[in-house]
């Protein structure tokens, strides 16, 4: 500090350090971006054909061409389902600017969940368009879809899974996310965004 010649050398060192840090940072940011886009394929959704809350046929083919977040719920559930559907509603609102992302909730209690009950449930969570579907099907078929299709619990209705499943536009399962964990939902948001880009 007290030598006039010493500081310019410090400037050179400082400039070198700033440049080295820039290279390290650029590589790190690039690696991080690439890692976010690297979402594994965990399986494929099997064929199914159910009915949505409006009485229209809705099947596996309707998953194609869209990014889908799917869960299993029942409308009279007092425990996890209201929390799950609130989180799903947040995602539904977050992605309201695009019709490339859709949401599907499958009833695990078809005996009590009539189409009217599903419509009323949809209304309660602010569903105003076709981006969030509520599906109804015979119990055995839903158990089969949960167990065989998604490798999730079929202890219905109370023991249904509380996870959200992410499905890409080719019907590939890309991830399972805890619906009760903020960090998991942030990761799900990131993964949806990445899949929409491709």
């Amino acid at each position: 500090m007290n030598s006039k010649g010493a500081l310019p050398r410090i400037f050179v060192w400082a400039a070198a350090i700033v440049l080295i840090l820039a290279v390290i940072a650029a590589v790190t940011i690039r690696q991080a971006d690439q890692s976010r886009a690297d979402i594994p394929v965990l399986g494929t959704v099997p064929d199914f054909q159910y009915v949505n809350q409006n009485g229209d046929v809705y099947g596996a083919a309707d998953l194609e061409g869209k990014i889908t977040v799917l869960d299993f719920i029942f409308t009279s559930c007092q425990g996890a389902c209201p929390r799950m559907s609130s989180r799903m509603a947040e995602l539904y609102n977050r992605f309201s600017a695009t019709d490339r992302v859709q949401f599907v909730s499958v009833s695990v209690d078809p005996a009590r969940d009539s189409l009217a009950a599903l419509r009323s449930y949809a209304e309660r969570y602010g569903v105003t368009d076709d981006r969030w579907m509520f599906l109804r099907a015979p119990l055995d078929s839903v158990k089969w879809l949960s167990r065989k299709g998604f490798n999730l619990s079929d202890e219905f209705p109370a023991g249904h899974s509380t996870r959200f499943v992410l499905i890409d536009r080719k019907r590939n399962i890309r991830g399972y996310y805890r619906s009760d964990d903020k960090a998991s939902l942030e990761t799900l948001t990131t993964h949806i965004t990445e899949l929409v880009k491709w």
Binding site: F95, R178, V196
Partner: protein, 318 residues
């Protein structure tokens, strides 16, 4: 003489700590710019382990495997490792101050304060992760880092003056420039706070609508962003003017003030360029990182200049 030798050794250690703390601020900014803040969803461990898992099969059963991203986990983990090392350096500075400068309050107290704050900062880091990166928590984490590095700079500079009691003996600075530099420091703090608010608005907009383009995100922060840009230009103009006066209108400025002034001018110019690139080129992550990091350097340089000018109190040459 012995006191000067002790001061020199302490000053070297403190300067090393300041430099290391700036590296940590850079690494922390890199965590944010690369989106690796939740790379380790738990704290202090990472996915329940002291060393992050190498693959998903090593994850503990209670942690959602969807959260695991090898790259992001290691970026966040390296930030924590660097944090521990720098925390120890700051603790070392405080211990040295306690041993050798117990009767020098201007060195002792800021050193102890920095050590206490770095312990708080470690804990606050856990709150940042726990809140899933709530903007206010991230901002607080950054503000504390700025305070810590400012305290350390002050300590290093005071040790430098103990080591070189004649460092400012021949120099003479117009009195008003001290207030000017102090005002610039205050303006910069306001700019940093405004910048964090701009960033928070962008983060919130991105959370509410993750598919929004960079232009769309910028539009969300139009008024605050414009104010930040305008105030940035004002800061730059006053910095250039203050720098020009410091270099031309002072008598025998010390090497510290002379080089500090040149660095200050260079930094503020870089900041204006970075700000322009952020607006014009869609908020590139690397430039976001440098914009924040260079702001922390600017705060440090202003503090050094202010302390240097203040040390001349009573022997002004108008």
């Amino acid at each position: 003489m012995e006191r000067q030798t002790r001061a020199r050794k302490f000053r070297r250690f403190a300067v090393l700590t300041v430099a290391a703390t700036y590296i940590l601020i850079f690494v922390g900014g890199l965590v944010r710019a690369s989106g690796a803040g939740l790379g380790c969803p738990d704290w202090p461990k990472c996915f329940g382990r002291w060393i992050p898992p190498l693959n998903a099969s090593q994850l503990p059963p209670d942690i959602d495997p969807a959260l695991f991203n090898f790259t992001l986990a290691w970026i966040e983990y390296i930030n924590r490792l660097v944090g521990v090392v720098i925390g120890l350096l700051i603790l070392g500075t405080a211990i040295l101050a306690l041993r050798h400068f117990r009767k020098t309050p201007r060195i002792l107290y800021p050193s102890l304060a920095a050590a206490l704050l770095v312990a708080y900062q470690g804990w606050q880091g856990s709150q940042v992760v726990g809140s899933a990166l709530e903007p206010i928590m991230v901002t607080l984490h950054m503000v504390v880092a700025f305070v810590i590095v400012s305290l350390l700079i002050y300590v290093a500079q005071q040790a430098y003056y103990l080591e070189n009691p004649d460092a400012e003996r021949s120099s003479g600075y117009p009195r008003y420039l001290r207030s000017w530099i102090g005002g610039l420091w205050g303006l910069t703090i306001i700019q940093v706070i405004l910048g964090t608010q701009v960033r928070s608005q962008i983060d919130t907009a991105a959370t509410e609508n993750p598919l929004l383009s960079a232009a769309g995100l910028l539009a969300q922060t139009e008024s605050l962003g414009s104010l930040h840009g305008l105030l940035g230009l004002v800061t730059a103009v006053f910095t250039w003017m203050a720098g020009r006066r410091l270099l031309r209108k002072t008598e025998y400025p010390s090497a510290l003030v002379s080089y500090g002034t040149k660095i200050m001018i260079g930094i503020v110019t870089a900041q204006i360029i970075f700000g322009g690139i952020l607006v014009g080129f869609g908020l590139p992550a690397l430039v976001r990182l440098y914009h924040l990091w260079v702001a922390s350097l600017f705060v440090g340089v202003l503090l050094i200049l202010f302390s240097a000018l203040r040390s001349k109190e009573g022997i002004q040459h108008e």
